[in-house]
Symmetry: C2
Subunit: 578 residues, 2 copies
């Protein structure tokens, strides 16, 4: 991981790969890497689809090592959805494979001079780029089947579906999982559209013959890894809830808390919640021969992933995540798990963010394009995206564009990105994160559900403004650091609650790099990432006025608690005062 | 003109009109009035389609008097197109009629509680508001015919077409001309969408029985008016060019200068220019029994308007303006005047901005939806808007949304609003205005074509950055003042070149109000308007980063002069340093 691969799509005679030293970016991984390159190399006012934007794919600091949970990968660019900096994060196999291949980042630069699309193959011998227009407009599933035929089944893939090729602002970048299915996505912010604008359909990785990355201090590393895994196993969220029911364990929890946005954020509880809960999902999966407890990448010990089979017992999609179940479910008034799973499958195949799609369909429902609760109509709306119809292109550009096109006033976005599955009125700490993160409304940027709802890392009343700023600030800093390690963010539950697990993480990082890391170093890392990102956004034209929720969250009380978002504007402006 | 009519669309039991004193807004007219009310009463972060936005319609300070050229009207709100403050300006009869009826402004507030649409009738007896769903989705032409049947032909109307009802961001507000046709439009920035969001389809005005507004100093006023008219008559632009060929006199001029944006701003000269020039247009109109020289409102002495008949000699539309001929013509590679006139008619009927529509169709052509030069396809694209299809809704939301939906990178907008008919590379002073005006790309905000191309008000080399900042600054200040008087902006040609005509304007204003006005007062008025507008935009989240042209104008040389926009960013930031 001491080299960076740059592919210049503008080069005369076709795309040109060059591998260089990591240079000034040494010591960075994941989000720290993508955000540093974007901040340093991308003109903040460039068009996100222009040759001047760059797409950066970076494994984490520990990716490719034997550290547990180190298989997350970051995709960064200037976002076509928000117009600001973007880091979208995914599981899957690519982080570990890229790490073993020795790449700290792949940077796609420039723009192709024709409509030709390209595939990139990377193995221990180097990089090969080929034009391949036979891949045009393939769904991710067909694409991966084709790659398997061509390159065998030891590969892992990074790809876009038709949505990315159409440069839709909600397009994702897909990563294959351990079964070589394109089920893990860097979903948010339209990173797939930027890959589409670069003309790259798929990057195929094969790490055959490459060893794991070795720690500088093997003893310390090994011991730390053991303690780290034990810590994850003993925490109720990472050791019990997530493995048993996946992320969808949250449906009942958030619904009970009254923060489960229903019918385009009109209510905080959904009558059909129990039909789509993680508990129901798990028993459905078990009954159909699916898998309830499964890792999305090698080295995962939480194993919150799974397999969702259709009624006939055939693979339909990976176990839909909580945010997907919410987006395509409650937020559209839909209580049919099979319909939700079908939309998850379609989203993955087209290469589009499930959160943005669900939020968009709910806005379309408010515009009268379908009725809340009509699962069939919702599926058809998703299919429009795959077909690339005019309606599909509208929807594929997300909730903000859809609201504008159809004249809808109530559109739950911040910086153009849809809010996820936690109503900011009933989970006010999330509201602070939505409003202030550099990413546009994003739950992962500072997951205040921890102290607001789950009682993890302390307790802050979810319905009141007090304490939310500090909570969100600390979580945003910690998250930016974790997103740079390549660690799955879910380790946060354990490290927030268990000082010894946090120490194990520090020792893992320190054992690997040979340095002696402290908590202060982690905080400093997180702050430096946020500082890069904020500075980019300021140069791109963002001000404190963009760090706000839409007005109606302040004026329209949310049942059942009948609360409004009560954190003051002047307090939101203090999140980054540290 | 000492009262303000407010119509609260949110009132219990249906919309409620109340007439109040002008109060704190005394002494303001036109743009000074609309921008003051928006800045003071509209929350800068509100959704433009929300109940919190207001639509303000204000005649100028001299409207309703016998002052020549005083028939312009301003429509203001927070713009759905730009997200910033908006003043869109129109000719037609309404300014004079509203002035005589005594209203300094009509303010539409709140939002209706149902889908019902309303008509408002105002005469000397007062205001009557009625629900009338029979008007739904009528084009402006049919609507006005209906109003004539209902209220007779002494009326003048302010209305929206289907585009406004659909709340499309490029929707206009139509004003009837002297022949009671809906041909004059407050076109820019989506003001029609805000009127649509208020649920008001049409405001019918009847000033029967109301006298002209009387000047405080009749002798001074009369003398000044005489001198003013003489000054307009003797200037070559206002006395010869505009009356003879209308605004389209510019096609040959701007094309010759190499600043006539062709095929979506790819070239500065159009091979078919002579076929669509003002000269060709005038002879075509004459040959078909149309009208070449005609005023758009009573009291106009420049008379740059006209009537365009079809091949059979039947009225098709008013004489298309230069910017329309450019937008639907050269910018789409179309050299067919009849096709352009047909699109002008459709735009007026649907109630949509001709500039935004033409610019949008050119972007759609770059997206592959039609070929440059295909007039039939372009007409069909305009018709999509009228039909309200998904494609029509995309296009009706303007070039920025269309570019986003179809993944087009080259989109010539500033603050979300399309550039008009002057390429900022070949007319660099216009580039400064496009970049920095509060309005989004807008030629009327500071018409640097004067000194850049026409040699009016001095001479500044159009192809070089030197002197453009000061030129644009002074024009923006002067324009904001003129837009507040109710005077047609075209008086600027004469008052910039002829000190005695400028003095006549000051005497007209002074003779009317009884005050003694100086040039400094006009400058102070202009600055105060711009200050209000800038402050609103800052509170709405705009920064200097939004005062920029898209990058490609800086990188892509424009034939035939092969120049790029060369005004430096740091100089753009000095426009409002005065």
């Amino acid at each position: 991981m001491d080299k960076i691969l740059r592919i210049n799509m503008s080069a005369d005679g076709g795309p040109k790969a060059s591998t260089g030293s990591i240079g000034a970016y040494a010591g960075l991984g994941g989000r720290a890497m993508t955000s540093a390159i974007v901040a340093k190399e991308v003109p903040p006012l460039c068009h996100p689809l222009s040759a001047e934007n760059k797409l950066i794919i970076a494994p984490g600091l520990l990716s490719g090592s034997l550290a547990a949970m180190s298989g997350r990968i970051s995709v960064g660019c200037k976002s076509p959805l928000t117009g600001g900096i973007k880091e979208a994060n995914s599981g899957g196999q690519a982080a570990q494979v890229l790490g073993r291949l020795g790449y700290a980042a792949i940077v796609l630069e420039g723009a192709p001079k024709s409509e030709t699309i390209y595939k990139v193959f990377i193995n221990k011998s180097g990089v090969k780029i080929s034009a391949d227009n036979s891949l045009k407009m393939l769904g991710n599933y067909d694409l991966i089947e084709k790659m398997k035929k061509e390159y065998g089944d030891k590969i892992s893939c990074i790809s876009i579906g038709p949505a990315g090729e159409m440069k839709l602002s909600a397009a994702s970048v897909a990563f294959t999982d351990m079964e070589l299915r394109p089920t893990r996505h860097a979903g948010r912010g339209g990173v797939g559209a930027v890959m589409g604008a670069k003309g790259v359909k798929v990057i195929v990785l094969d790490d055959t013959g490459m060893p794991n990355r070795e720690p500088k201090n093997p003893e310390k590393f090994k011991e730390a890894n053991k303690n780290f895994v034990q810590g994850l196993k003993k925490h109720p969220v990472t050791g019990e809830g997530l493995p048993a029911f996946g992320t969808n364990v949250l449906t009942n929890v958030i619904n009970e808390a009254g923060g489960f946005p229903t019918n385009n954020f009109k209510m905080g509880r959904f009558a059909g919640a129990s039909k789509i809960s993680g508990e129901t999902q798990a028993s459905t999966e078990s009954a159909r021969g699916g898998i309830v407890t499964h890792g999305c990448h090698r080295g995962c010990v939480i194993r919150c992933s799974g397999v969702y089979n259709d009624k006939d017992g055939n693979f339909l999609t990976k176990q839909p995540e909580y945010e997907t179940v919410w987006a395509h479910g409650a937020n559209c008034g839909i209580d049919d798990l099979d319909a939700i799973a079908m939309m998850d499958r379609l989203d993955d195949d087209y290469g589009i963010d499930t959160i943005e799609m669900g939020a968009t369909i709910a806005v379309a429902m408010d515009a009268g394009l379908a009725k809340f609760g009509d699962a069939k109509a919702a599926i058809n709306l998703v299919k429009e995206v795959g077909k690339g119809t005019h309606l599909g292109r509208i929807l594929g550009n997300g909730a903000a564009v859809t609201g504008k096109v159809f004249g809808v006033e109530r559109v739950p976005v911040v910086k153009g990105q849809s809010m996820p599955a936690y109503d900011p009125r009933a989970v006010q700490g999330m509201g602070v994160t939505y409003a202030t993160t550099t990413m546009g409304a994003d739950h992962t940027a500072g997951y205040a559900v921890t102290a607001n709802i789950l009682g993890v890392g302390g307790k802050v009343d979810a319905l009141k403004p007090e304490g939310q700023i500090e909570l969100s600030r600390n979580l945003q800093i910690a998250t930016a650091a974790i997103d740079s390690t390549g660690m799955c963010l879910f380790i946060a539950f354990a490290i927030l609650d268990q000082p010894d697990t946090f120490q194990a993480l520090l020792d893992l990082l320190g054992g690997f790099s040979g340095a002696n890391l402290t908590g202060d170093d982690v905080v400093a890392l997180g702050k430096s990432v946020l500082k890069n990102e904020r500075e980019f956004n300021i140069q791109a034209g963002f001000t404190s006025k963009h760090d706000r929720l839409p007005d109606y969250f302040k004026n329209e009380p949310l049942p059942p608690h009948n609360v409004t978002f009560a954190v003051k504007d002047e307090d939101l402006d203090k999140v980054f005062n540290w």
